[in-house]
Symmetry: C2
Subunit: 395 residues, 2 copies
């Protein structure tokens, strides 16, 4: 955990330089009640109780100002070049530190559109304003949105290792559920098996437990963010699963499909096989165009075109999203230029980002064909972190 | 859970009337990333994803405005008389609802001093301002601090039942640890046993796991918020434990003491017995003066006087704090009028509040004598929720 935080804090220094911002200030208190979503990245799992300030400067200074009782925990992160401690009020040390760093811009964790960059409460914002009133810094506050977005997006080696581990566990649980030949079971029973597997491995679902996994048995199952039902998986149906675990704070998000053969059926029907080929080709097309600097909308278009060229209706969602500490990790999106996605599909891809690729389509009479892989963008192009599903599982 | 939320939301209506506030607005989004600490009380365990508004009016209206996909969850709380749903933007429904309620005051979750009433992020505050710009409500925003403080403090029957259950589990774990005769074990071994007991019962520690329980073996053990060490519990020492579980979202917080007899010792030394009597008398004195309307500082003084009258130095902390969803639940404090406690010792006691009573003192050469009971304030006076320790445990 400590290595991870050290890597991220060092990375933040580089991002400040790149974005031409002088100082990034994370200002929090009693984070057990009002956590700032950036803290796991730049401070770790410990909570901060009294008013606390984490300051990172473009010159490479990393300063934690914390209550005396949390001095040891702040030092143990190994991420801060200086740990300053107070007993009564954080104000003198905070103003002194801001004055010494003399940043022309002080970025704070507030954002209208990105909840992951909006950790500063309004009360804490007012406290900060009161503390710096009369100093030059009162007029130098800007949003840290771009810093946090880059910091969350660009995974460090330690983060990639944790994501790989979450993916490996997710794939193990997938292997278990397909090996159990769940034909005749209900969607709910399949979900319970996967929940038990998570418990046995001491990991959590990557999103709300009720809908993780999503289990779709056949064509009449509701697609989207709906919960497993008492619908039974029958021969002649596609089994579609959308699932991932959160392990050591990092997530996986993978979709897999299987076909339940009818008695005497040797292979899946051609309609199902063609759908499978189309979706995997969509994923491959997206992966081929992913390059540093490409806008997400172009990646989306590449996958979407494969689906519509094959005569299927286009899927009503984005081809892929970033993944990390949460399954939908925000920032640049591999999505179409639809209003509801705002500017996120126009953001360009950066090195170290991890994306899902998840086109899908409905196979009338059989069920939903959706496959989702997790990929890492590097200088050299895309690396698949999940072991791609290249063949339809037959049960 | 649902009954609990229903009780609290109804209770909030009464509190608004009492405080002469018209409308209370909780305004949140993606609460999995930025939770508002009041949500467990007025909405329950589910998260809210898109911009969501929970409005409670002094006229008894309880309106939830949520994204379409969360309509069912909002209805299932059973706490809202109206659930309004949107697809694109919350703004029209929010402004329409505020206009219909026409409150002269609209209380929002922001506070300089009370983190539990400071759930509104600065970004969400700016969003709200933008949404109500040009309406009369832009000038009617006030802090909901007093509403939230009263709502958290005054426990409903369902909440008291849950606190009783957390206390019962805490007492079971205490019974187990004392039955294990831990003489010769280290503080850390004793803590591990209690952690295993929590795991076996599926409950969590009521505060940070590292320091829950606090275990003090003998006079040289560091008192306060320090973690269990490899110090061994020896004959001739006091064993002091400070511990509580969180169960179904509610906490207990109890201290217990035992004395480890030396070979041939039949009873504890008189110095230890006198200290035990003094601390239990301090608790009794505090309980006797607890009445609705009494300022906390008077309760503190009653207990503190027993300790200092007996010739011991006064303890450097408050006699008691409120307890509920978290072990230190904020609001009125049974504390001395010291600067660092601000106005909290001068707040008066209200019906339905749950307090700890925890005077303590050091017995030179033997260890720390601290006992902590949990009490409920009712119309008729104080009820002990914990089974008070009336005899020193001898090991």
């Amino acid at each position: 955990m400590s290595l991870l935080v050290q890597e991220k804090v060092i990375q933040a220094v580089g991002i400040l330089n790149e974005l031409d911002l002088d100082v990034w200030l994370t200002f929090v208190r009693e984070t057990s009640a009002t956590p700032d979503p950036v803290l796991p990245l730049i401070y770790g799992d410990n909570t901060l109780t009294w008013h606390s300030a984490l300051l990172i400067s473009r010159t490479g200074e990393r300063i934690a100002i914390v209550g005396r009782m949390e001095e040891a925990a702040a030092r143990e992160t190994g991420a801060y070049s200086q740990v300053l401690v107070y007993d009564q009020s954080i104000r003198p040390l905070l103003v002194e530190t801001l004055t010494r760093l003399d940043g022309q811009s002080v970025a704070i964790n507030t954002s209208l559109s990105n909840v992951l960059a909006d950790g500063l409460t309004h009360g804490m914002y007012r406290s900060l304003q009161a503390m710096i009133e009369g100093t030059p810094f009162a007029g130098r506050l800007v949003s840290a949105e771009s810093v946090i977005s880059a910091l969350r997006g660009r995974k460090t080696p330690a983060e990639i290792a944790l994501i790989r581990a979450a993916i490996a566990t997710t794939e193990e649980i997938y292997a278990d559920v397909f090996a159990s030949h769940p034909v005749g079971q209900t969607e709910r029973q399949i979900a319970v098996r996967m929940h038990n597997q998570m418990k046995a491995r001491g990991v959590l679902p990557a999103w709300s437990a009720d809908g993780c996994p999503i289990v779709n048995a056949g064509a009449d199952s509701a697609i989207g963010h709906s919960n497993p039902t008492d619908r039974k998986l029958e021969p002649g149906q596609i089994l579609h699963l959308d699932f991932g675990v959160m392990q050591a704070g990092y997530c996986a998000d993978i979709q897999r499909v299987a076909y339940c053969r009818k008695p005497n059926e040797v292979d899946a029907p051609e309609a199902v096989k063609r759908a499978f080929r189309t979706v995997t080709e969509g994923i491959a097309a997206a992966a081929r165009v992913m390059r540093i600097g490409t806008p997400g909308v172009e990646v989306d278009a590449a996958a979407r075109k494969v689906i519509t060229d094959a005569g299927y209706p286009e899927y009503p969602y984005a081809t892929g999203h970033q993944m990390g500490r949460i399954a939908h990790d925000g920032g640049a999106l591999l999505g179409p230029a639809w209003d509801r996605y705002g500017s996120s599909p126009h953001e360009t891809l950066e090195v170290g980002q991890v994306y899902t690729l998840e086109p899908g389509l409905m196979v009338e009479g059989y069920g939903y064909m959706g496959i989702e892989e997790d990929v890492l963008l590097q200088e050299s192009g895309v690396t698949f972190l999940s072991k791609p599903q290249t063949e339809l599982i037959l049960m």
